[in-house]
Symmetry: C2
């Protein structure tokens, strides 16, 4: 039974993930998730109690993939901007690779929902506390040097993540839209990355 136990639970999680990403929390339906998973919908409640809980479980897990391999990033004595670039690349890979609706999802369901907004930071704090600490140190260093105006660390992170998610959402919408060729989309994607960092640093200039 243990074997089947794990399997069913995972099948439900996968089905729920697809459903939530595709339709967002409110439009996602328990019956639809059950249908995707090929189980009776009472199973969703058996394993996860409620829709709310199923959602939370998925995204606490999903967000863990947000944590990239930061290990070596701080060993290289990189400049602040280069560290930001490194982190952004990891974030970008995560947002872009998984499912092209992911950035859009992060923006609409996580960032714009105060109740869910903390999830990202909780996961970061929990899974990469040392890296967060190092980054915070670097930020405060820049502030002390007068390169950046005083800003709260979490606000700073919020800024980075939100701008990224928004840009990638826009690119996803354009990609999915009409006759725009892939070449142009790739171009946009490459260019936004550097622009977003410059934009934020500019906005944070004292």
């Amino acid at each position: 039974m243990k074997i089947n136990d794990v399997k069913t639970e995972d099948i439900i999680l996968k089905a729920a993930e697809d459903e939530f990403l595709e339709k967002g929390y409110s439009n996602a339906k328990m019956l639809s998730i059950a249908r995707r998973a090929g189980v009776a919908h009472s199973m969703l409640h058996y394993y996860f109690r409620s829709k709310e809980n199923l959602f939370q479980t998925i995204f606490a897990r999903k967000m863990q993939l947000f944590i990239p391999t930061y290990e070596d990033l701080f060993e290289k004595q990189l400049s602040f901007v280069d560290v930001l670039r490194g982190i952004r690349d990891a974030r970008d890979r995560f947002l872009w690779s998984q499912n092209s609706r992911m950035p859009y999802f992060i923006l609409t369901e996580i960032l714009s929902n105060k109740k869910n907004r903390g999830i990202i930071f909780e996961v970061l704090e929990k899974n990469a506390p040392q890296q967060m600490f190092r980054l915070k140190e670097m930020l405060n260093d820049e502030i002390a040097k007068g390169n950046i105006r005083p800003v709260d660390f979490l606000d700073f992170m919020m800024l980075l993540i939100t701008m990224d998610a928004a840009s990638l959402s826009a690119i996803f919408i354009c990609k999915d839209a009409d006759t725009l060729d892939n070449d142009l989309i790739k171009n946009l994607h490459d260019i936004y990355k550097e622009h977003n960092i410059q934009l934020i640093l500019e906005a944070l200039r004292p």
Copy 2:
């Protein structure tokens, strides 16, 4: 009766607009709109037949405000970039002024929904056909001169609107978020405007 007729219809429209902007199409409820408007919910169907229709009616009307006073923009012999800046400013004023959830709404309900995506273009084409024609001419001119790679006019417009709506959504989320001061938000807002145009022109370079 004519007097009361118009009033009720407008009260419903206003209530529906608030509800749709706040919650999005799916989460908006007819009963909730009726409650906001202070009328029996059957009234919504009396005037607008269905939820779908009510939505369409509101946003066809709302989107008309998207059309700024472009009249003088093309008289001044401005460069292509400056025309883009002028149009962007008008778009920005519209998105920013109305209701701070407007950019977010445009992104999530209009742009990311294929069925609704045409609304913006329909309205533009209907209410500012000459300006659209002039802009199209300018774009094709830039393409002919080799400053911009060949791109469909509607795709180009889509790009501009989507990037703007996304950036403003991000800024709105940050604004609404935490302890970020208004100064910083204003900075971000000022800077993104020029960045977005540069980003798009860069991405469109041949």
